[in-house]
Amino acid sequence: MEHLAFEIDSREEGGPPRPPVLVGAVGSGNLEVLVEPGGTAAGRCRVEVHTSAGGFGAVWEAVLRDFAERHPVAGLSLAVNDGGATPAVVSLRLGQALREYRGRDR
């Protein structure tokens, strides 16, 4: 098990904080993502990753930076439990988690 933590620059979406959401399931090649408000400095997104696949810190950082660039996630904390998912699955699941989080009020 490897533990990684990132603080990444992003844009703020605005609006009130929403209740936390959990998307996905930990399993081989899969992951779960918890999205909750707060826990980070202004203009930043905090991401904690627990992963069963060691040695991929640089890939995680690249995936998360791209994600934070495409989506306004400043002011949010993401907790990821990863069972060795590929970057493709990680990107999709992050997108779904964010949609789930935002979608609550719509």
Binding site: T86, P87, V89, L92
Partner: protein, 547 residues
């Protein structure tokens, strides 16, 4: 001209004479088959032991492995698929020495070991059509050992739905004064149809157990992931709809199964029924059932059959090629030809791709071979008839001269990382190492880069037709190579320039909302739902039943 022009015919008569006491007419009892083979075979003979992609002459293989190596040895085996342990036992015992083949799936590791130890000489690894072609030129079998469903007293053969390679093998052998021995599952008075005339068959044996057939083309929709759904959406929108692809072949795998299952949902929603995917060269994939039932599919010609699909196919004769008995007539050689010359698109998954677009499924310790994909995954340069998809691809490819030409669409699907985080994009294919280790003349490349027109990953589509230089092609491939080391070596500016002219297209460039890529978009999410789509006609093998 005078001289001796009938040596093979005389030799054939001598061999049949030696075997005469062992047979009752053409029929031989199962326990006498090793003796029959010792009578018919001579050391050094070229032998086709029918091993197809699906159907296996397994009883004849076991019998051949039981002959006395002092009498029968150093055979040259020519067969498309090396699938059974017995196939390789021949080489361990010295019965076989040399092997020309196409594909070795489950025996790939042992084959590499035997070749490495010098017990087995590999002549060449072929594509299917290439090997069949050589049956008629310089690899004509002296003896063919084939498999069929049933035979009658005269030795007429009924293959049932899995005709596969049998006609090609028997034709080459029988008309060059070779000998043909068939194993069948049953002896009947009257065959439902004749697939091989008895006059071309010398001996028939009823095997103690039905010949082995594997359901190789069944993919359980429950195992299709969201990334595959996303890639399927891109293929339908960015390639099938874009070029108006009506005639195509799908490779084997979950990526293409996802496309098949998105036709009744996503493609229907885009108004593409009747505009894409009408004519197919394809085995009867269970995952194609929803598309057939939804009216997308007009015709399917098949290389082989698929276990469990018999009743469904028989009930859809307007779509599938069937005999007067109602069951499928497959034919691998003709279907490969159809895929090569009459399809506008081939799409398949691969494991590894380099920056020239060459792709390979070979790894260091396995000699898997090619099968049929390269026959379809290449431009058919002998083709002369025009279709809109073919002409458009040719126009995009340019070529400089004034003469317009068409081009086959050859699409490679791959996720940027395979399982266990193995990058799918590499600077150098493992095929180079395999070629060195096995002292092969050429690295075993499945699809050559200059035949590939589109590379599809979860990151988008690289259209190599629109790339004008090797550097541009490499950059377009890097653009869809995601977070692999190769992908992260891309230049942002170069990628944006390629995107600007459509040589690289991201999902958003195609109007695809990535968040819609969920399993809800699949027309069937389980084998059980496929059964339901088929009206109960599809009877999946036990291993695919969970209910």
């Amino acid at each position: 001209m005078s001289g001796d022009w009938s040596r093979a015919r005389r030799d054939r008569a001598e061999r049949l004479e030696r075997a005469r006491g062992l047979a009752d007419g053409k029929w031989v009892e199962a326990e006498r088959v090793p003796a029959l083979l010792e009578a018919l075979l001579r050391p050094g003979d070229r032998v086709c032991l029918e091993g197809d992609n699906q159907k296996q002459a397994d009883f004849l293989a076991r019998s051949l492995a039981r002959v006395d190596p002092a009498r029968v040895h150093d055979l040259h085996l020519v067969q498309s698929v090396v699938a059974l342990p017995e196939h390789l036992a021949l080489f361990e015992k010295g019965i076989g020495r040399r092997l020309d083949f196409s594909f070795s799936g489950p025996q790939a590791v042992r084959l590499a070991q035997l070749a490495g130890s010098g017990r087995l000489e590999i002549g060449a690894i072929h594509t299917y059509l290439e090997l069949y072609a050589r049956y008629f030129v310089d690899l004509t079998p002296r003896v063919a050992l084939v498999a069929a469903q049933a035979a009658d007293r005269e030795g007429n053969l009924y293959t049932g739905p899995n005709t596969e390679d049998t006609p090609a093998i028997v034709e080459a052998t029988a008309f060059k004064d070779g000998l043909v021995v068939a194993q069948v599952n049953e002896r009947v008075d009257r065959l439902p149809r004749v697939d091989v005339p008895g006059g071309w068959v010398d001996h028939v044996v009823r095997a103690p157990a039905p010949s082995t057939i594997e359901p190789l083309f069944t993919r359980d929709p429950a195992l299709i992931g969201e990334v595959q759904v996303l890639m399927a959406m891109m293929v339908i929108r960015g390639i099938y709809a874009e070029y108006g692809v009506q005639r195509l072949n799908h490779g084997i795998g979950f990526d293409t199964a996802a496309i098949e299952l998105l036709l009744p949902t996503y493609a229907e929603e885009l108004g593409l029924r009747g505009k894409i995917c009408r004519h197919w060269a394809l085995n009867p994939h269970p995952t194609l059932i929803p598309a057939v039932e939804s009216g997308f599919v007009e015709s399917v010609h098949s290389f082989g059959s698929e276990l469990g699909m018999e009743a469904y196919v028989a009930a859809r004769p307007d779509v599938f090629f069937t005999g007067r008995d109602g069951s499928l007539r497959s034919h691998r050689a003709f279907s490969q030809l159809a895929g090569h010359y009459a399809c506008d698109l081939f799409i398949g998954s691969t494991l590894q791709m380099d920056l020239e677009g060459n792709s390979s499924t070979a790894t260091r310790s396995r000699v898997t071979g090619f099968g049929g994909a390269p026959n379809m995954g290449c431009d058919a340069r002998g083709r002369r008839h025009a279709t809109p998809a073919w002409v458009r691809a040719g126009r995009e490819a340019g070529g400089g001269g004034a003469m317009p030409r068409g081009r086959k669409l050859v699409v490679q699907l791959l996720e940027t990382y395979r399982e266990h985080m193995e990058p799918a994009f590499v600077e150098r294919l493992d095929a180079w190492d395999l070629a060195e280790a096995m002292r092969m003349e050429l690295p075993p490349v499945m699809i050559y880069g200059d035949d590939v027109t589109h590379v599809v990953t979860e990151e988008g589509i690289a259209n190599l037709l629109l790339c004008r230089t090797p550097e541009e092609r490499a950059e377009a491939i890097r653009a869809v190579a995601g977070y692999t080391p190769v992908g992260r070596g891309r230049s942002r500016a170069a990628v944006e320039a390629l995107r600007g002219r459509g040589a690289v297209r991201r999902p958003e460039d195609l109007g695809i909302d990535v968040r819609r890529a969920t399993r809800d978009l699949l027309a069937a999410r389980s084998v059980k739902e496929l059964v339901r789509w088929s009206g109960g006609l599809y009877a999946p093998p036990a291993r695919f039943r969970s209910w």
